[in-house]
Structures are given as structure tokens and as C-alpha cells.
Amino acid sequence: MTALLAAEDVNVVYQPSGGAVVHSVRDVSLTLRAGEFVGLVGESGCGKSTLGYALTRMLRPPGRLESGRVVFDGTDIAALSGDALRRLRQGGFSLVLQSGMNALNPVRTVENHFVDVFRAHRRMARSAVRTRAVELLTRVHLPPDTLGRYPHELSGGMRQRVVIALVLALEPRLVVFDEPTTALDVLVQKAVIETVKELQRDVGFTALLISHDLGMVLESADRVLVMYAGRIVEDQPAAAMIRHPKHPYTRALLDCYADPRAAEVRISGIPGSPPDLSVPSHGCSYASRCPLVETGCRVAEPPLADGVACYVTGRA
């Protein structure tokens, strides 16, 4: 498989006026191959959404790409602007945000949302828009009469399905899903994720699923990236990660989960808290919380090698 998207040494900073510079994404390199379903997991403030924005060129001030390249299908998207960027949004890359409620315009019907999307990118008759919209709604398991509805008439799960249908309208080759089901109920969450997987299989786009929920990501994705303090600390196929997590942070995260049906259930937390990303750090950013820490860990940040950024567990 060929690389559809490659990020090279991406650094993103937030520089609020008068405030300290926060290094939100640090030296991230990653490759997404065509047709792959990749998960990106981490806790609040680890930089996962910021990375998702950087990969889809959605960063807004005070956030900016400080250095590094994001290459989509051979084009450096950081250098793009205006029309060239607009052209890549069609048949290129898209972002699905957490709350479908906030992404939709409350005073426009679902049909009008489709009209907006199609007209922004191509000339299309109203009847053709309608036909195509019904096809797309069917794909996300919504009835055709959804077209005439307003967002407030739909449940949270239905709204998120509408957003996904709108994203698919432009036939993207890469879709970044940023916490697409976090605001939804458990049963609805499961159904929406199943639809996303089914679409990814049938339509064949490349998916990056960003979530704090390691269980959901491990279940959905083929490959999982674990992010901590702005860096990717582990990159493994999901099946391998479940059985043999490499990074001490991934291991600790897995210990926060258990099957509630098991005979014995024990969950643990992770003591301490992540480092302040506005303060320059030396050494591994997980060192202060790590049970395996050695003196060498505090000298320089471990590079990501063989799927793990750890001096101790990476040696094995």
C-alpha cells in the first residue's frame, strides 16, 4: 500500500497573545496508507485533536504549524491556500467533529446543508443534489425524509450520521474523525462506529479515528497510535497492542479498563499528571509517572523506534 498522507516532524504551537507558548504537538511523524483504518488515542490535552487539525489543515490561530510537513498524496498541504486548498477538500481530506449538533446550522434543513456542500464545490441542479443526498443518507442508514428535517428534530446519533453523510458527499480519500461519538449514548455510539467501519470498508477511504476511549479505538482500528504530551509514544497493530502493549503508558492505560463481566475486576489509575507543555522538558515526558524509569530516561526524549518511544521497554 502507498502512503496517502505523510507527516514529517510536525510541531504545532499555540501562542496566545501575551501567554506562554504551548508546544501541543512535538516532532510527530506518521504515515497513513491508502485504505487504512488508524486510531489515535490519548487523554485530554495530549495534542490529539490539534494533530488532527494539522493533518487536515484546519489549525486556527493562536495555533500554528511551527515546523514540519504534511504531505497528502504528494502535495505539501501546509503550503496550500485559497483555491488549491478548496480543490483538495473535494476528493481529498475531511474532518468530522465531535458534536454534530454544533456542526449543523439550526435554521437550515438537512437538504439545504447538502445544497451548500455541493454548490460550494461544483455546479449541480437541485434535483441532482436531492438524488445524491438520498443516496448518501441511505448509506448512513437514515430515511430519505430526513432531507426535510431541521437539526433539532433529529437525535444526537442521527445528527452525527448527517454530518458523516455530508463529509462523504465530496468523496474524500481521507476522513479524520475527532471524537465522533463522545457526546453520544453508549448504544448509539456503538451503532455509529459500526456505520463508520462499514462505510470505510465499502467506500474505501482512509480513516483516522481520534478518541480518548482506548477500548473503542482498539476495537475499530487496524493500527493504533498512542499519544502522550504531544508525542506519539506507541504505534502498533491493534491486535498486537491489546496483547503486548509496549510503552509503559499504554500498559497503564490498559489497566484502567477491565471487562465488567469478569470474575475479578480490578482497575487502576495513573498517578500524577501529564507535564505542562508550556515548559521545555528534558528527557522522556512520561518519566515522572513511569514505574520503569531509569536515570537515562531523564536525559533525552526517547525516539519512536520499532513502534515504541521508550528506552526501557524498547530494548527488549
Partner: protein, 263 residues
């Protein structure tokens, strides 16, 4: 001091005029014995929070009775209600929204001590230090004068728990207290909630946390209790289809995964 909920029904008007009434609780009965923790589990809209509001005296049932230590909660008024609220305290889902952003931790914790227990300034000061120790916010000096925005989500929720414990309640009602926290912080707050010795009504959609915290579990679906029993039994041998559906919605990676090298 047991809580007895018997045949409680609550209906709300529909969204528009002429819509049918929405039944949020339909003939619900359960009890919580002193020191016991009971989980109320169901998805959004199942009626969990409505029951919490009735148990805490914020709403009255249309039918049925709620009795706490012999007192009819559903009939309380004014002063009696105020006295009842000292005995039954809530822990909310969003610790940021539950704390006044302009109040320091010490001020937040002092208020229930002065208002409900009538402690003097000096006694309250000492009691705040103890409470912070109980919820693991030590050294006390490091946290007492902080404002909510200077704390992490987990620390904030510990302050909310400390505030709930301050007036020496006999029952805690916790409505999704960890769902907004990072997974790495959840175990700590759950330990805290289950270790207080105070009776606990734990409201959640998360079966794992229910398993960790609760002795018994009630499964609520469309306002009705469809299954109840010891938490372990309900989760390991569910009888109701809805309980099974909730269990099936769990991510499977953790089911029977033999993991190597846990630390």
C-alpha cells in the same frame, strides 16, 4: 438510615402542546440500606436523573412514596427540605460547572460547614483540612487556596466530593461522577466514592464503574426497572434483553484478552 422508594411514577409534558406525556419513571421501587452502594444503570433518557432529582427532593413524584429514615421525602417543605438536603448530598457529572469559578477550594468547603453544621470559623478551618486529606488533596496548603481553574479535572471532582461529604450526609447521590474524567483518573475518584462508608446511589451508563463501586445494581429502561440484583450477578448472568444490549455495546478488546507484561 435506609432509603425506600416505592411505586414512584413521574410524567412530564411532551415537547409540544398536545404531545403525549413522557413517562420518566414508571412504578419504580427499590431500597438502599445504610452503608450500601447501589448503581442505577441505563442509557440517556432512561429516567436515571429524574429518579435522582426525586430522591434528593428537587422534584416530587406524581405517584408513589420516597421515604428516608422514616421521613416522607416527597412531602417535605421549606425548613424540612433544607434539613433533608444536609443528609442527602449530590456529586455532579461536570466538576467544572459544579464549582463556583470565583471561590477558592477552602471557601467552597467552608460554606456547607457553616450553613449546615453551624461550625465556627476556626472549627470549619480545621475541618476543611481534614476533608482535603480525606479526598487525597494533600499537602493541604497546596490546594486550599486554589481556584477551580487551577486544578485538573480529577482534582476538581475531589473537591466536589469533599463538599458533598462536608455536611456529614447519610446518603450520597452521584450522577455520572467520572464520565467527564480521563480514564487514568477514574479509579481514584471511584475508590474515594466507595470508601466513604456513606450510602451511595451511583447513577451511570458505564457498567465497568458500576461493577467497581456498587454492591447492587438496578437496570433502568424507559422509566422501568427491568433487572436488579447483586452487581456481579446482573453483569455475569443478565436476564433482560436490554441489559444484554448494554453489555454487548462494550468494546470487546478487554473481554478475555490475555495481556502480557502489565506493570
Amino acid at each position: 438510615m435506609s432509603l425506600v422508594v416505592e411505586g414512584v411514577t413521574k410524567r412530564y409534558p411532551g415537547r409540544r402542546r398536545g404531545d403525549r406525556l413522557v413517562t420518566a419513571a414508571d412504578d419504580v421501587s427499590f431500597t438502599i440500606e445504610p452503608g450500601e452502594s447501589v448503581a442505577l444503570v441505563g442509557q440517556s433518557g432512561s429516567g436515571k436523573s429524574t429518579l435522582a432529582r426525586m430522591v434528593t427532593g428537587m422534584e416530587r413524584p406524581d405517584a408513589g412514596t420516597i421515604t428516608f429514615a422514616g421521613t416522607r421525602v416527597d412531602r417535605l417543605r421549606h425548613k424540612e427540605l433544607r434539613a433533608y438536603r444536609r443528609r442527602v448530598q449530590m456529586v455532579f457529572q461536570d466538576p467544572y460547572a459544579a464549582l463556583n469559578p470565583l471561590h477558592t477550594v477552602r471557601y467552597t468547603l467552608t460554606r456547607p460547614l457553616v450553613n449546615h453544621l453551624g461550625l465556627s470559623e476556626r472549627d470549619a478551618h480545621r475541618r476543611v483540612d481534614e476533608l482535603l486529606g480525606t479526598v487525597g488533596l494533600t499537602p493541604v496548603a497546596q490546594y486550599a487556596d486554589k481556584l477551580p481553574h487551577q486544578l485538573s479535572g480529577g482534582q476538581r471532582q475531589r473537591v466536589v466530593v469533599a463538599r458533598a461529604l462536608a455536611p456529614e450526609p447519610e446518603l450520597l447521590v452521584a450522577d455520572e461522577p467520572v464520565s467527564m474524567l480521563d480514564v487514568s483518573l477514574r479509579a481514584g475518584v471511584l475508590d474515594l466514592l466507595s470508601g466513604t462508608g456513606v450510602s451511595l446511589l451511583y447513577i451511570t451508563h458505564d457498567l465497568l464503574s458500576a461493577r467497581v463501586v456498587a454492591d447492587r445494581m438496578l437496570v433502568l429502561h424507559s422509566g422501568r426497572i427491568v433487572e436488579h440484583g447483586p452487581t456481579v450477578d446482573v453483569l455475569r448472568h443478565p436476564r433482560d434483553d436490554y441489559t444484554r444490549a448494554l453489555l454487548d455495546a462494550l468494546p470487546t478488546p478487554f473481554a478475555n484478552a490475555e495481556r502480557g507484561g502489565t506493570t
